[in-house]
């Protein structure tokens, strides 16, 4: 699957002028509220028409303002999961799920109803009405409804933003399964670093209606230009052991291993860990008598002052790079220099997924 979109649209004071290309997988549109992520996804879905724009999916042009092509939303066959689920109140969950199938072309690969229901864990809800569901349940049904319309692309517009942390933790594993077990490419809009870090294969960072950066999560989320509270690194590893009594999981990275709170993972599964740079401490000696479970040994690869009293330290730990954000004063006191051996200290609690 290839998707190329480019759009320019004036919405009052705001000007959207952005575009990107995706080759499948999960592409995250990431940025603060009001950066134009939703406007861009609405253009892709055909819910709004830009003044100038082009959208090509697998060689088929769905939008081209220059040659006046505009395929209406119901003929694009893109599933759309909205922030507020938008289930039909007059239909049962089962009828909501089946709604899109009426209109899907008969030639489309029929998504297996039972498999989707099982994947999203909504089997017990089928005969209920949407009004009787919790927020998390509604959102899972909405995802199922979009998937069952046999879409060639799934657009998810902050599907977790309206939910509390508990519900988010309930749905995220389903989204990971969705990514790993279905072949439908996904465009995922979010302003949450942890969601993007966990789900995305590619990240498009947006700011003020424009694309600021494009890359893999580990590339873009650690870029110095991105001034974000949650900046940090995303490391990929394998779940090695699970400590059930303490509810912890050990994850093997390139060489080092780290301990994270056990968030319903299985042994052997590949996972991503997002380590926010502000949650990493730097020590010049191996600390003792400390509650933090993760002490990684490494050497300083780079020191980047931000000119505002803070310093970003890149620490090479085996094959992985960890970022630490500390004050310039601490960096001076510890006499941090390139290639100096140091220890990165990370509280396990900071890695709660």
């Amino acid at each position: 699957m290839t998707l190329t979109v480019k759009a320019r649209q004036t919405l009052g004071e705001f000007v959207l002028d952005a575009g990107f290309t995706s080759d499948g997988g999960v592409t995250a549109l990431f940025g603060p509220s009001g950066s134009g992520k939703t406007s861009l996804v609405r253009v892709i879905a055909g819910l709004s028409k830009p003044e100038h724009g082009r959208l090509v999916v697998d060689g088929e042009t769905l939008l081209d303002t220059e040659s006046r092509i505009f395929v209406p939303k119901h003929r694009r066959r893109f599933g759309y999961v909205f922030q507020e689920s938008r289930l039909f109140p007059h239909l049962s969950v089962r009828q909501n799920l089946a709604y899109g199938r009426w209109f899907a072309p008969k030639t489309a690969a029929p998504e297996n109803f039972d498999r989707i229901v099982e994947l999203l864990g909504i089997g017990l809800l089928l005969d209920r009405r949407p009004g009787k569901l919790s927020g998390g349940e509604k959102q899972r049904v909405a995802i199922g409804r979009a998937l069952l319309s046999a879409p060639r692309l799934l657009l998810m517009d902050e599907p977790l933003a309206a939910l509390d942390d508990l519900r988010k933790a309930e749905i995220l594993p389903y989204l990971e399964r969705l990514r790993d077990e279905t072949s439908t490419p996904i465009v995922y809009v979010s302003h949450s670093v942890s969601e993007v870090a966990r789900l995305a294969d590619n990240v498009v960072i947006m700011k003020d209606g424009q694309v600021e950066a494009v890359g893999t999560p580990s590339e873009v989320l650690s870029m110095p230009s991105t001034e974000r509270r949650d900046a940090g690194v995303v490391l990929t590893g394998t779940v090695e052991t699970i400590d059930i009594p303490h509810r912890l999981a050990t994850i093997r990275l390139a060489q080092a291993q780290i301990v994270v709170p056990n968030a319903r993972v299985e042994e052997g599964r590949s996972v991503r860990v997002h380590i926010p740079e502000r949650d990493v401490m730097v020590a010049t000696q191996r600390p003792e008598g400390l509650s933090a479970l993760n002490i990684l040994e490494g050497a300083i690869a780079a020191i980047e002052p931000d000119g505002d009293g803070m310093v970003r330290i890149r620490i090479r730990c085996g094959g992985d790079m960890v970022l630490a954000r500390i004050t310039a004063l601490s960096a001076d006191r510890l006499d941090l220099r390139l290639e100096k051996p140091v220890f990165a200290v990370i509280k396990t609690v900071a890695l709660e997924r």
């Binding site: 599933g79 039909f88 007059h90 899109g100 899907a104 009787k132 319309s149």
Partner: protein, 242 residues
């Protein structure tokens, strides 16, 4: 009629054939007026609620005219337009064989026109309250505009549609001025319940008949109201749970 005192006491409540005819005619006229105007009502309400076109306020004004004008004026306008020599009436009788003046169909037309603004108002309000985000969602699931209307909009506005139908029916049952002006007061053809009551009050000794028909009118109106409340409750239970 020779009858004993006892019989007479019972007779007081018994409806004569003429009275039954008036009741049946009234029900028929009102039901036809309601059902025939329904598709037009939904269409116009949709136009007024969603449409953006030149002359929208003019259309709105025309729809509301029967509510503001004296019914006799409406009846007279109908006579001019739909009478045998009227612009539309002549066309209808010549090419389609439909004659409205002094027929029960004309009474239904008059009743439908008088009830139309009430029906449109009710349906329009319910269309305006539909969450358009749901229609947008239906579109992304592959439903074209017509299917979105049938599968999402229509079920959601059903309570408003039923309320509009009942209002139009009730208005038709009570309609008098426009009907009597347009199609006169012919027993068995255009003499509706209201017209029959009026006739009774105009003849000496007609009070009993007027009273009987009044009771019937009250009973029918009440039944219609209860039925609409019940239907709205059933549908509301299905639609407005969130």
């Amino acid at each position: 009629m020779a009858a004993t005192d006892g019989d007479r006491r019972l007779d007081w409540l018994a409806l004569s054939d003429e009275e039954w005819t008036a009741i049946r005619l009234s029900l028929k006229v009102s039901a036809v007026a309601m059902i025939v105007s329904l598709p037009f009502g939904i269409f116009v309400a949709y136009l007024l609620a969603r449409g953006k076109f030149w002359g929208k306020s003019i259309l709105n004004g025309i729809v509301h005219l029967p509510l503001i004008l004296p019914p006799v004026v409406t009846g007279f306008l109908l006579l001019i337009l739909f009478g045998r020599r009227g612009v539309i009436g002549a066309f209808l009788s010549e090419y389609l064989g439909i004659v409205l003046s002094f027929r029960w169909t004309g009474a239904a037309l008059a009743c439908g026109v008088m009830g139309f603004p009430l029906m449109v108002r009710s349906i329009r309000l319910s269309i305006e309250s539909v969450d358009r985000k749901l229609e947008e969602a239906a579109g992304t699931l592959g439903a074209g505009p017509a299917w979105v209307f049938i599968t999402v909009t229509l079920p959601l506005i059903l309570p408003g549609v039923i309320a509009g139908m009942i209002l139009a029916f009730a208005k038709a049952m009570g309609e008098f001025g426009a009907t009597i002006t347009f199609v006169s007061n012919i027993p068995g053809e255009t003499q509706t319940l209201s017209a029959a009551i009026y006739t009774f009050t105009q003849v000496p000794g007609g009070d009993a008949g007027a009273m009987r028909l009044t009771l019937v009118a009250i009973a029918i109106s009440f039944a219609a109201l209860l039925a609409s409340e019940f239907l709205a409750y059933l549908i509301g239970k299905r639609v407005h749970i969130e």
